[in-house]
């Protein structure tokens, strides 16, 4: 197995591990929210907003993991600069922006959520730039393939 194939395999395994961890977090979150309520020094109860925020973000998170898995699958097949991957990168960036908006709403209750908002928006922005690069790469590849 070449170093490149090994790297793709490791990425694929990491995505699957993240999928398992996220699934576990779905079940653990109500208990974690209760624990947070007990240890929180703030007086207000944010259990319900916290759970709504978490489960909304989890939906986007699962879409991200599913799309990442498909993207890595395409890379494994050697199909890197194809229009389908541009679509996947677009979905990934939209999901990051959705998470940013959801956590921005939650930041009304806990200001620290702004960190997640900022991180998600920033990653979404980076993904958009990568998507734009892929678009140009697909165009160049097509031009190269049709140069006789």
């Amino acid at each position: 197995m070449s170093a490149q194939n090994r790297s793709v395999t490791v990425t694929s395994i990491l995505i699957k591990v993240a999928l398992v961890l996220c699934t576990g977090a779905l079940f653990a979150m109500p208990f974690a929210a209760q624990m947070y309520k007990q240890i929180s020094i703030m007086n207000d109860d944010v259990t319900v907003p916290l759970l709504i925020t978490f489960y909304s973000c989890a939906a986007a998170g699962f879409v991200i993991l599913f799309v990442l898995d498909r993207l890595v699958g395409n890379i494994r097949k050697g199909e890197v600069f194809i229009p389908q991957n541009i679509k996947y990168l677009r979905i990934l960036s939209y999901c990051c922006f959705i998470i940013a908006v959801i956590t921005l709403i939650f930041a009304r209750f806990r200001l620290l959520a702004f960190i997640v908002t900022f991180a998600a928006a920033f990653i979404g922005l980076i993904l958009r730039v990568i998507k734009n690069c892929f678009e140009e790469a697909v165009r160049l590849k097509e031009e190269n393939e049709f140069t006789i």
Partner: protein, 69 residues
């Protein structure tokens, strides 16, 4: 505006088949077909040179500019 490839016309005039021409200029029949059907995005000078040499013609015989308004 577009460039029209008249390769099939020149080939017919010279009575040369795709297989023979592809072999003469050293490209695959699939690539020659891409060129003939006008799907090609660009043509290398080296390919054009070989085509002109094999078909004994000028680049202008193979390529034509059309201003479709």
């Amino acid at each position: 505006m577009k460039i029209i490839v008249n390769l099939d016309v020149v080939m017919a005039k010279r009575k040369i088949g795709s297989g023979e021409l592809a072999e003469k200029i050293g490209i695959t029949q699939a690539n020659l077909s891409v060129l003939k059907t006008g799907k090609a995005k660009a043509i290398r000078f080296s390919t054009l040179e070989k085509l002109c040499d094999a078909l004994d013609c000028q680049p202008g015989d193979i390529l034509e500019f059309s201003r479709d308004d």
